[in-house]
Symmetry: C2
Subunit: 465 residues, 2 copies
């Protein structure tokens, strides 16, 4: 078979598959939802309201409770059939103050942020000579004697990429640095921010936390400050630093996952789950991370709720608690609903800003692939291609994926996402209202079609890796 | 006369004028300096060294003294004939801490910076309702009763422009706001930052200061925070704010203008003055403002000092003290040298970052215009056009211009300058090394040719406006 024939055959197959999956009315509604979303301001308004009325909302803070109350009220006003909350309990880490300064050869204050779950230093701070490492592996490989009593500086740089693939390798310094530094007897650890901007913002974020493990105080400095520190070290004189952190891990706090459901017409016990997280870091107003996600999935579901025709299956919007400090909301949800994983047809979270969605990935059973292809055909007018098979549903669904949850990801362009991620600079003006509409259109089309899927997506033990 | 003939005539006139002004050898050296500058790293190295070894250097701080010592040593190492300092005395304002927070309808910390010479608030801060004005004129026109006891918020936005022309209208809120607010009985004043970036940095800067005048505590909030405050006010509930500033004006401090001279061969008592300022704000490392200027004018003069052939006149590099807090260095210099203004052929300062120079302006006597045109002809290969006649020499030379100093300005593209101006984010990575080379080439060609000018530029009472 020559190439043209093969191609024609493939196209015919796709067309046939599409025709078989959804009836004309369902496809017409998908097209209407797409157009409606592109003309609706609701998603941006939700994002603006959350970031303006509440602002930042660190898990466990007063604003956490305010955000939960805000979410319940907001969802109740949007025509869902039911809105409820489910408890999420976690240790509450509180940042009071942090200061990182070079004290020799010259005094310079650096722009810094303590990492989530960092212990405090003594009130007067910890002062020591700085020892620099290329990355976590280099620290791990270093003789203890070269580290003991010193302040470790890890300088690895995050690479910019549309899919955010620079994050994984670089973030090891943040998640694991304090533990390794503690094991080697360091006084404290300071890392170059896990972020791509040259603006002078420090990027906070959580470190791997296990109660009882030994940690040293940990902070990130902004990228220009990391450059400055490298230049000073290169001058050859010993560089000394003082790290002063006041922070504490308090007794546990119970927040809430907030869930809204639109009941399906014919198969309401089968659920398409759309997720985002309601909490944010205590810096910035958590606009891209993740008020935008809250706006996107809520507006997408609301567009469907506003139509006369119900989808066959139910659609849930799940706004997770305490994502930033360790996926506590996602873990609580998987714990509570793990035995009913098969009820969840598929899940997809928006937690990567609001850049244009360029690709759809799916981890579903073979039988569901024609449905996925039919959905992608309706996303294609939005510029969304079919990605490689596999992938996740977003961070908050990962604990449930470990129990076999089928996953779709609508992948946002994250080229600039890590310029703002976990910084003071994650504010509403960083959200592009036009790109957000495309996101909402994609989630609405996906949710509508998935909720009318004639086949299951395979959620259950068969999808566990 | 048709257009082509007119153009040819103009070109011939220019060519003739150029030919008359400088001899071939002088022009050849100008061309060589231009090429040398484009290949030299010296300017950037100076900028990197100052910002790395010293960092920020607020007038009166410990780093001010360090910067003076650094400058003397740096200039002595570069082949000038003489390096000396001249005293500059000024009141020393010290920022300790500042905090601006919305306290109702919801608590939100804002990114803020106290303005230079702001008085302190009580230790517990000042809390009051916010009253918003479009600009300083609107505040000035408001009934006192609408302002008394409140915290004034002025929301005027600076417009972006290549020539920085958005700064003047907007900065009135900063320079005059505290005085007007005090007159009307306000508790404090908070302004939208005078800057063009949407990044969350507050732009500091000085307010008009007269000992004995009545001020209220004054701060600028970042532009995203100003947006947030406007959105909260638009929600309709009263917005209350708390401003807490710890700052003080101390006894006077004496810093130094640092001056280096390259002696002229035939007319050493006539001087071409190149300026920049050595001090910076206490936020950022003062890279664009004005370590870049220090690098540019020093490297330009050093290129000339490094040649066998001396210019006819002397060239001075003047690194001014205490520019940021009110042109104290420039005023002291004009005070000390005002009676010898005629000795200064012309002056030009680099204090607008290091964007590409696009235009030359000149305020000189009519007789000097052919020389200016001949200089511009040698700058044209760098992309530098002739601007309108008039203009200044840069802020530090303005007090001497009031005594008749002739002025040239090599105008940098300032489109992005006010994204960084007076913020924590003014760090070395914001300086473009390639654009800086073009700047140095322009200053070197200008200084060399001006120092070989066959005519005076008219410095003296005749040039006073």
């Amino acid at each position: 078979m020559n190439r043209i024939l093969a191609l024609t055959g493939a196209l015919l197959l796709t067309a046939t598959a599409t025709a078989q999956v959804f009836d004309e009315t369902t496809l017409e509604v998908a097209g209407e939802l797409r157009e409606q979303a592109l003309g609706s301001e609701l998603g941006y308004e939700i994002t603006a309201d959350l970031t303006t009325r509440i602002g930042n909302r660190l898990a466990g803070s007063e604003n956490d409770a305010r955000a939960v109350a805000w979410a319940v009220e907001m969802l109740e006003g949007l025509g869902f059939d039911r809105v409820w909350t489910e408890p999420v309990t976690f240790p509450y880490w509180v940042r009071e103050t942090e200061r990182v300064a070079i004290v020799a050869p010259v005094e310079q204050d650096l722009v810094a942020t303590a990492l989530g779950f960092s212990p405090a230093t003594p009130a007067e701070g910890l002062e020591a000579e700085v020892v620099m490492f290329d990355d976590l592996a280099a620290l791990d490989a270093a003789p203890d004697a070269s580290v003991t009593g010193k302040i470790v500086f890890i300088r690895n740089r995050m690479e910019r990429a549309r899919d955010g693939s620079g994050y994984g390798p670089a973030v090891q310094a943040r998640t694991g640095g304090s533990l390794v530094a503690a094991r080697k007897g360091a006084a404290a650890i300071v890392i170059r921010s896990i972020g791509t901007s040259t603006n002078r913002f420090a990027h906070t974020g959580v470190m791997r936390f296990t109660a009882g493990s030994r940690y040293v105080p940990a902070a990130a400095i902004s990228n220009p400050d990391a450059d400055q520190l490298e230049r000073l070290i290169a001058l050859g004189e010993p560089v000394r630093m003082r790290v002063t952190i006041d922070a504490s891990i308090n007794q546990t706090y119970t927040s809430q996952n907030v869930i809204a459901q639109l009941d399906g017409a014919t198969n309401p016990d089968s659920i398409v789950a759309l997720g985002a997280h309601l909490d944010s870091w205590d810096v910035g107003t958590g606009a891209l991370d993740d008020a935008a996600g809250v706006g996107i999935v809520t507006a997408a579901a609301q567009l469907i709720a506003g139509r006369e025709q119900r989808p066959d299956r139910s659609i849930q919007v799940i706004l997770f608690a305490a994502e930033e400090i360790g996926l506590w909301g996602g873990r609580a949800w998987a714990e509570a609903h793990g035995d009913e994983v098969a009820r969840y047809l598929v899940a997809s979270e928006s937690d990567f800003g609001a850049g244009p969605i360029y690709e759809m990935t799916a981890k579903v059973a073979d039988d569901a692939m024609p449905v996925i292809e039919a959905i992608q055909a309706e996303l294609a007018p939005l510029g969304i291609a079919m990605g490689e098979r596999g992938g996740g549903a977003g961070p908050d669904f990962s604990p449930m994926m470990a129990k076999g949850l089928a996953a779709v990801r609508l992948r946002q362009d994250g080229t600039n996402y890590f310029d703002y991620h976990h910084t003071e600079n994650d504010t509403l003006d960083k959200v592009d209202p036009e790109a957000m509409k495309q996101n909402i259109a994609a989630f609405a089309v996906f949710a509508w079609l998935a909720a009318n899927s004639p086949v299951e997506f395979g959620s259950g033990p068969g999808l566990v890796d």
